[in-house]
Symmetry: D2
């Protein structure tokens, strides 16, 4: 259930309603949505309890019967697909229905030269958002961990120079503020999908969040992670499928495109696809990027590098500049020919 | 290694070479390809052994160093993609590069009326091959097991009437002959992918084989299963991805489209995709069918039913007639816009 | 539901009841159990229908409301654990509650010398059943496929000489009769767990069946496969867990001991464990064999070889003679100290 | 490779050696072990480079060729199993060879009464360590998130009263200090196994760490996570297997006991098993706990509750007081009868 309080309600109003519910042994959890105070319940309220609550608490405007365990993320709550607006001014990009966004850039920011060269390629290829890792979650403590804040500053400058919004990962609460200062989208990496304190902190920063699916997360767990962010009042969440663990070592992960279609039926949030991390292999990136367009996803995020063979990290999965050009053209062609199958909906801007 | 004997070599020639190899403790396995006698070895022969063998055995024409454990299936052996020709006369269909085949029909043949009605829809929608199950591998012994030979006869008549080649599953050696008599393609189901005696029997029937990937088969295991068929001298093998097991119950299986792209790099055999069994859910079939076209697969196989709600089996995943029309149109549109990305190759006919 | 006909009922009685059910659009499937004719239904019969059926069909003795999709295999049908009796005379072995059986022998029968040497070791170590593969399901067509019937004959002679019942795999219906003639237990391999025609044929041979769990079979799918055998009237089914597919290449498969405990709650059939195939690594076999005893399984099946480094197949997972001695002693010690935790039940002999 | 600097080396010495390596394009990563400064390299140094380095850098004492990607965690580096000492004074517990530890307590600390009642049961049953969650990583933001610091204080008092060391989870860097103040072991939960900043922070707190395996972590990824902790100079790491994701919904997770045996061959760190979270089902906990003893693990961690049906979290997997008593007795009985199989080694105390 979701209990929506009247516009203008305060934290005290929330506390009052939660206390009232506690009196009948029901636990309410405070959340926010579209500027409103919201209280979420895991339990179901029957008609009698609903009637009682609305009488007992004048702060309550509406009580919605959302059955999914994720409430604010669900299509039950919001049937129309959401649009997340990224960046500002001329470089602003809309992620959601009716468009197809291409986020591209190096796995890791290695130097000013490498980043600016790549950003130029990204822009020329017609991609919309610049990606680049400054803080890198590495399996080994003995691998390059990223340039840190220095990398963030380079990313911001590259974005400004090439008129591209930027996305980069934040790995810990201590750096949320810094990442939010320099980048346009905060990425929560797959390994941190259930790092709940980080989800809350990132949500509170108020910037768009790119939430990667964990390598063994069910669709429900993924949406529950999104709910942690949404419950902070931040509605600008983009989901990103990046491959799940499978028994076959032939590809690094198994890109679950069926899961993308299925999750789009459960949530109004836009979903994009990362074919680079999913496969770990350059030659698979373009076909799976095109497939993302074919299934009606809202975009892709890919790694590219002017000289992949020199990359400090994940060079084997970075596509070449010419491939990026062909991919951007290809995804828009595919998206165009499938558009009428997915019945374009009126775009619905979040925030 | 593959040892190719001279054209016109006999079984006795094969035995002679195998005996010669046994003399140096190397085991040779007889196979056939393109009408030639072939001997396959798991072990590597160094230059010295190769020289010795060609001198010792005049029957040997060539010795090929194929490193992949699957030999005849590998792109090492045959770099250009193969085409499998299905059906005869006017209804003949080519499965392979430069085309995109749509196989469609009911999960299970239930009655003459249901089958002919569906076949008419399949034809009208522009699909190329009629599918329909006569022998059904059912998890439960207490479920409908199919119409058997009666169903095969109906399928043949429906195919003839609507000028469509047909595909149907064969579950046991005892029925290989019957299925080969009535149908144009013998399907080996996912549960039988490693039923090695059945693979051999089906191969020997000399008809095209549709080999479904097992729900937990690696790409290598899948290609080794194809190798069992190829080793009988039957080169008309079509691979079919139909979803693999994953931890997420949100979809029945996880369609491994990255695996399709990866397997196409390892083998010359055409690969098609089954989005119906992969997902178990009607609304996911069209997006994933379109994705199959986007990744450059050679086709799809889907279930459709004039009245899915009345189907005896798998109605929930059968698409509606109108959806089939849109899907056929859609896959051809997608295939057309991605064709130049996959650099069309000269078609290369098997058999 | 299970409908039990009166003792002495005939096939015609079965047909009559099935026809009566068909009259109300309910499909009945014939089965047999404990010498009785049985009819299984996937659908539920409410009280009204049950009353009607018993009045309409005097052939019906009892109607049991079994909710599990597997009927004869379920603890709903038979709450007490079953015992399967293997072999004859002095070498007879009981597989089930109150005992712990050790089946051991080579992966593959390679020669008379190798088999008899191993059989002697198996006997000396105190194991109860001799295993050995004559027909080998090999991933590659270019690997040793077993000695065939010649191997079966050797196995029978070795079993007789060392007073050990024998178990060996049957891979195809054509050889069920031969395997049933020479061996005491017919093994259905993991890859054939859902080879339904083979399950039926093997069941009809009337000998005990060792049914391995498929590498990606759920517990329910495994029990449904057992049900195919049970429905033939053969009650002598032993289940065998041998590892499931996982994402981690560190071990060949993941031995699912939690699944063994869980399946024991669902079925009365005895369950044993194969730590050799599960792990593919000698040093893991003993610990996991001991774990099988600790969880209350009914036994283990392990591979051993007098000279594993010379084995034609799976030498890396075969334990050494001295390890087998220690393992047999160890499993009995463990079984003894945990016995009172599992509350010994009165043994209950099947067949 | 591991480069061990001389005793008494400083951070500056480390920097000097790293700079020297950088001069030949090799990246060194600073670590600590047994009070020494250590530098780890992902690359291999050949003999020539090793000779050069020892001449160029007098700070270098030894250069070890550790091939595993985890260095300090590997048996290459330290062949003998380590012992981690937990708690202080009379309640001190040794986790490692020659013993078997039982950690038990409620999933979540709910109240003083519940915790102290459970602690009394834990002590009476003969368990050695008290567990209890104060910060709970919950899939849903709308579930009870734990008592926080209040819970930590209760846990400390209960541990003191019943003379039991305590273990509790820390979810974020901000609370590492608090958890380290009140508890004897800091648990890193499965979802945080690759939360690298948290691993570092927890390591630096200097207390023993219980590192749970992620639900889809390979053994190598798990050991790399341990390496992040070890590299801080904290050697007191206990690994804990708690089940991995599988395709079968019959149990919550699949307890990978083969993985435990395999990881014990790769690392000297003690490994314990959590059968409660692995299965999610009370009746499976005891058998799998006994199995942990049978495979030679160093202990178990289980959930128990005086009244599981009233638990706020995970009641279905909490065992009853009488079951805990039987389990503690059982694991010691099993450990005793298998001890000679695992050849007791001289215990080797860490720290």
């Amino acid at each position: 259930m979701l209990i929506i309080l009247h516009s203008g309600s305060t934290q005290e109003d929330v506390a009052t309603v939660i206390a009232e519910l506690a009196g009948v042994s029901i636990t309410g959890y405070p959340a926010r949505n579209q500027g409103r105070q919201v209280i979420a319940l895991s339990q179901h309220l029957n008609l009698e309890l609903r009637t009682w609550l609305q009488q007992a608490c004048p702060q309550v405007e509406r009580i919605l019967d959302i059955r999914a365990p994720y409430k604010l993320a669900s299509t039950e709550y919001r049937p129309e697909p959401s649009t997340v607006i990224v960046g500002q001014g001329a470089s602003q990009v809309r992620v959601g229905p009716g468009g197809f966004v291409v986020m591209a850039g190096p796995c890791t920011i290695e130097s000013e030269e490498q980043l600016f060269k790549t950003a130029a390629l990204v822009k020329q290829a017609g991609a919309n958002v610049l990606r680049g890792g400054a803080f890198k979650p590495r399996t080994s403590p003995y691998s390059f961990q990223g340039m840190g804040v220095e990398g963030l500053k380079l990313l911001q400058r590259a974005g400004q120079q090439y008129n591209l919004p930027t996305v980069t990962e934040v790995m810990e609460s201590a750096y949320v503020e810094a990442v939010a200062e320099y980048a346009d989208i905060l990425q929560i990496g797959a390994r941190n999908m259930q790092n709940f304190p980080l989800l809350r902190e990132a949500g509170l920063a108020g910037k768009p969040i790119l939430l990667k699916r964990g390598p063994s997360a069910t669709l429900e767990e993924w949406l529950m992670a999104a709910e942690y962010i949404l419950a902070t009042g931040n509605e600008q969440v983009i989901l990103c499928e990046r491959g799940i663990k499978s028994f076959d070592p032939a590809t690094r992960n198994c890109l679950d495109l069926g899961g993308v279609v299925a999750v789009q039926e459960k949530t109004h949030l836009p979903v994009i696809v990362d074919p680079s991390h999913a496969t770990g292999k350059r030659s698979l990136v373009t076909p799976l990027g095109l497939a993302a367009a074919a299934i009606g996803a809202s975009g892709i995020i890919v790694e590219c590098h002017p000289h992949p063979e020199q990359a400090l990290c994940d060079g084997a999965q970075s596509i070449l500049p010419a491939q990026l050009v062909a991919l951007v053209k290809g995804v828009h062609n595919v998206a165009a020919v499938v558009r009428d199958i997915y019945e374009p909906v009126e775009s619905d801007v979040a925030a």
